[in-house]
Structure formats: structure tokens, C-alpha cells
């Protein structure tokens, strides 16, 4: 039997203002699976990802990440668990004045001993490593640039490079390419998928562009009003389901807002490792 990476059992999360962002979600994601989460804005995708990243504690329900309940373990164990989880934010929370190289190296701070983290402040300890990850995002030339000199899309790619450098066992990405142009988005999502399948780790990505999700991921979870609307492989996600999922929005969002040619998914599929 394949080991389970994420297990949610009737998990709900109620915000302080009473809003129910995640409502009674149960699901299991196996180790090495690659899952895309889609749904209209405000559906609870980000909250769900933050629950998985152990940033938010569910109000009720059982949660197990990489075999552990993050809220029932010691602080040391929680820190060790968090070392194995990496999250890419839509707007990467990187101090604007930090240099790209530092921001990328910060990904592995959890694995480093204290002295190494301190030494890296004086002189970046692994410039080559940071550069390699940035090259995969095609921004190796920005290595020593300050982050506030980058565009939104470049920042997002720095965020992805940081998580690639972290090498976590669970990759969580929250709309990682919302500001990246379509052709590049495809490559970034491709790199994330390649990383996950090469190292055999789990990838959970929330995506705004439905075509990207259907194209790259073998499992699609549709979320609406904090609940799972469907949980299917892309070939079985139908036009009607998507229309239904995005009923609150005028169109089904795709890259560059091109009208989505709704064929059963997988048509545009390319080999994973080019």
C-alpha cells in the first residue's frame, strides 16, 4: 500500500469573524501524488493550503501531515515536520530589501545548524545551489538583485526557487504563477511537477488557471464554499462540472483569459520531462 502524505478527516475551519472557510473536508492524498486544487476566488483554497502548511489550526476534525498530527506533537517534532513542508505563496513573503540569493537560501534554514544560518548572513554559503534553482526558473541573472527590483512574476519564481532549494517532502503552492505570463507559467508548473515526480514527493497546488491544472495534474480537486465539489482525474472533469464550480464567476478562468476549448482533459498533455 502506498503511504499516505495527507489525511483530512472532517476538517473544518471557522475564522475569528465567524466565516466558515473550510467546511467538513475529508480527503486523502498519497505520497508522491500531484494534486491541483481549483475553484472560484473565496472558495477556501488558500485557507485549506494554510491548514495543510500547519499555519492554521483547524477548528475541528482530524489532520495528519506526513504521518503526524502537527497539533499534537512536541515543538521540536513540529519544527522537524515543518522542515519537510514547503509552501509557495501567491505573493512570496520575502523582505523587499533582501537579495534574491539570500531569499532562496533561506529555504533551507530549517535544515541548517544555527552557525550556518548566521554565516550565510555575512556571505551566502551556497551561491551555486541558489543559482541552480534560479536557473530552473530562468532567472539566474537576478541572483544578486534586490527583491524589490523584481516584477511580481519574477518574485513568484523566486518563491518557487526557494521551495525547490528547500527540497521538502510536501510541496504546497498557492497560485504560484498568477503573475507569470502564460508560456512561462507552463514551464514553472512543469518544473514543480518534474521536481515532485523525480524525487517522489507530494505536490498540492491551488491554481487559478483551469487549463494549467487539467493539463499538468493527474488529480483535480474542485472546491466551492469550503467544500469539495469533485475529486477526479482530469479526463473525467466535464465542462458542466466546471461551469457549475465557477457559477459565481462569469467565465471559467484560464491562462491569458483565452476561451477554454473544453475537450476532455489530457489532450494537450506533453511528456512530463522534456
Amino acid at each position: 500500500m502506498k503511504p499516505v502524505s495527507i489525511k483530512l478527516d472532517q476538517v473544518s475551519l471557522v475564522h475569528a469573524n465567524g466565516q466558515r472557510a473550510v467546511n467538513n473536508i475529508s480527503c486523502e492524498i498519497g505520497s508522491g501524488e500531484r494534486v491541483a486544487i481549483i475553484g472560484p476566488s473565496g472558495a477556501g483554497k488558500t485557507t485549506l493550503l494554510r491548514v495543510l502548511a500547519t499555519a492554521l489550526r483547524p477548528s475541528s476534525g482530524e489532520i495528519r501531515i506526513l504521518g503526524k498530527d502537527p497539533w499534537r506533537v512536541s515543538r521540536t517534532a513540529l519544527r522537524e515536520l515543518r522542515c519537510r513542508i514547503g509552501m509557495v505563496h501567491q505573493a512570496p513573503p520575502i523582505p523587499p530589501r533582501q537579495r534574491v540569493v539570500t531569499a532562496v537560501l533561506a529555504g533551507r534554514l530549517g535544515h541548517w545548524p544555527l552557525w550556518k544560518g548566521l554565516a550565510s548572513l555575512a556571505y551566502p554559503v551556497d551561491i551555486a545551489g541558489a543559482r541552480r534553482m534560479l536557473a530552473r526558473m530562468e532567472i539566474a541573472d537576478k541572483l544578486f538583485e534586490r527583491c524589490d527590483r523584481l516584477s511580481g512574476g519574477q518574485m513568484q519564481r523566486v518563491g518557487v526557487a526557494r521551495i525547490l532549494y528547500q527540497q521538502p517532502d510536501l510541496l504546497l503552492t498557492d497560485e504560484p504563477v498568477s503573475a507569470v505570463d502564460p508560456a512561462l507559467s507552463d514551464r514553472v508548473i512543469g518544473e514543480l511537477n518534474r521536481e515532485a515526480s523525480e524525487r517522489g514527493v507530494t505536490l498540492v497546488a491551488s491554481l487559478h488557471a483551469v487549463d494549467l491544472a487539467l493539463h499538468w495534474f493527474p488529480r483535480i480537486i474542485g472546491i466551492r464554499n469550503g467544500e469539495i465539489a469533485f475529486d477526479l482525474p482530469p479526463v473525467r472533469v466535464t465542462d458542466a462540472m466546471l461551469k457549475d464550480l465557477y457559477a459565481s464567476e462569469s467565465t471559467v478562468p484560464t491562462q491569458g483569459n483565452e476561451p477554454l476549448a473544453m475537450q476532455p482533459a489530457g489532450v494537450r498533455r506533453k511528456p512530463l520531462c522534456s
Partner: protein, 278 residues
């Protein structure tokens, strides 16, 4: 991995500038430690520690005998009186000088008239006097006046008068110039004198700001008059200097508490005054 990237060895371009900056800071600060005779050991020198220890141990409880409280009350009133009297004299110095240096009140500005050259020649020394008065810190003035008129509050009053006269004069003229000058100009062009132009054209516009700044300065003057006591210019500071010299911690802490209360009181009074005139 793409091979060409792994081959490139990159060095941090910021390393050298950073290193240089660090070295420069160390080179600049190092003689500073020598010049300031920096030696934390002095603080732990047994004899010093004993004296200081005894002194600080007596800080609590603050001295509260009726005699001493009467002394404190007297000194506090003296401090307030020094500040108030000093500010009054400062106003007397500042106002005429501010009127002289304020350019928008200049009659000669609107056209070549009688006194064009005289006006310019008067403004320059007035400006210089203001600058000279305010550039020397009040405590230095106090030191000088203590030698000129003797120990006691008179030196403090004069020191505040001179320093704050210089500050007020400069700021007054700035406030007057930054306000709406059109009414003044209209009056001047209609042939009115400087003083009349000031009273009817400028005064109403600038008054709230002038008052607010003066009140703020009075607050500073209260604090300054405490400090100036240390060089013998009367008030709470002089009392504290005396208590310190006698190593009487209880008195020092009582005076410090009074000082805090006084500063808070001055703060409250000035806030009230500003609100009432705003």
C-alpha cells in the same frame, strides 16, 4: 541539471564593499574607544562600586520629610518661575527681531522707497543676532551668566531669555512668512506702516501657530531650567546637584520623581493652552 550552469563559479559582488564598510567602521570606532577612555572595569572597581552601591541603596525610599518637601516645593516653583520669566524676556527679544527680519513685512520690497537700503542693512545684523543667540546651547549661556550675575535663578532666566529669544525669533519670522501674505501685501501697498500691516494683515492669520509654538517652547524651557540648575542657575537642578554631591540618594530620587511630575504637568498645561487657543 544543465551543465553550463553548474560549471559557473559565482562570487558575491557585495562581499568586498561590505567588508570594506565593516573595516572602515571598525577603524573609525577603534580610536573612539581609546579617546573616551572606555573601560567598563571602572564601573566594577571595588571602591567605586562601594560608593555607588551605597548611593543607589539610599535611593529608596525617597526622602519625604516635611522640611525637604518644603525645599522641593520651593525649588519647583523657582524652576517654573525661571521658565516663565525667561520666556517672557525671550518674547521681548524675539518679537522685535522677528518683525525686523520678516521679509514679507518689508516696505522696501514693494518698490524702491525710503529706507530700502537701511532695511536691508538692519535685517542682516538682526538675523545674525538671532543665530548667535540660539546657536550657543542654553547651558553654556547659563554657565556664562552665572559668572556674570552670580549663582541663582537670575542666570537661568537670562540664559533662557537669550537662547529661546533666538529660537523664537527665527521660528516666528518663518511662521509669519509661511502664512498667507496677501492681506499684508495689500495693506503695505495701500501705504500702511509695518506695524499696522502686521497687526491687521498678519496677526490674525499667524496667531494660533505662534501661540502653539510659544507654549511648546515654554514646556522645553521648564525642562531646560531644571538642567541649568546643575551649573548653579537655581531651581530643582541646583537642589539635585547638591544632594548628589552629598551622596544623598533619597533626596535625589525624590527630586527625580518631582522632575517627572513637573514635566508631565508642563505637558498637560501646554496641551490645555494649545487646545484653548486653537
Amino acid at each position: 541539471m544543465r551543465s553550463e550552469e553548474a560549471a559557473v563559479q559565482v562570487r558575491d559582488p557585495a562581499a568586498v564593499p561590505r567588508l570594506m564598510l565593516s573595516i572602515a567602521i571598525i577603524i573609525l570606532l577603534w580610536p573612539g574607544f581609546r579617546l573616551t577612555e572606555f573601560d567598563l572595569g571602572v564601573l566594577f572597581d571595588p571602591r567605586n562600586r562601594e560608593i555607588m552601591g551605597k548611593f543607589i541603596a539610599t535611593f529608596f525610599p525617597p526622602e519625604a520629610s516635611a522640611d525637604f518637601l518644603r525645599l522641593i516645593l520651593k525649588a519647583t516653583l523657582e524652576t517654573l518661575a525661571i521658565a516663565t520669566a525667561g520666556m517672557t524676556l525671550a518674547l521681548l527679544i524675539a518679537f522685535p527681531l522677528a518683525l525686523v527680519v520678516t521679509r514679507s513685512l518689508s516696505i522696501s520690497r514693494i518698490g524702491p522707497a525710503r529706507g530700502f537700503a537701511a532695511g536691508r542693512f538692519l535685517r542682516l545684523p538682526a538675523r545674525f543676532i538671532l543665530m548667535f543667540f540660539r546657536s550657543i546651547p542654553e547651558i553654556v549661556w547659563a554657565l556664562l551668566f552665572v559668572r556674570a550675575v552670580g549663582l541663582g535663578p537670575a542666570a537661568g532666566v537670562l540664559a533662557i531669555a537669550v537662547t529661546y529669544g533666538g529660537m523664537l525669533g527665527k521660528v516666528y519670522s518663518e511662521i509669519l512668512e509661511s502664512g498667507d501674505t496677501r492681506p499684508t501685501l495689500a495693506l503695505l501697498e495701500a501705504g500702511s506702516g509695518r506695524l499696522a500691516a502686521f497687526c491687521y494683515g498678519m496677526w490674525p492669520v499667524a496667531l494660533p501657530e505662534l501661540v502653539s509654538y510659544t507654549v511648546y517652547r515654554w514646556e522645553c524651557a521648564v525642562r531646560a531650567s531644571v538642567i541649568m540648575g546643575f551649573v548653579g542657575a537655581g531651581g530643582l537642578g541646583q537642589l539635585m546637584e547638591l544632594s548628589m554631591r552629598m551622596l544623598n540618594g533619597g533626596e535625589v530620587s525624590a527630586i527625580l520623581l518631582t522632575f517627572f511630575l513637573l514635566v508631565m504637568l508642563a505637558d498637560a498645561i501646554s496641551a490645555m493652552l494649545r487646545k484653548a487657543t486653537a
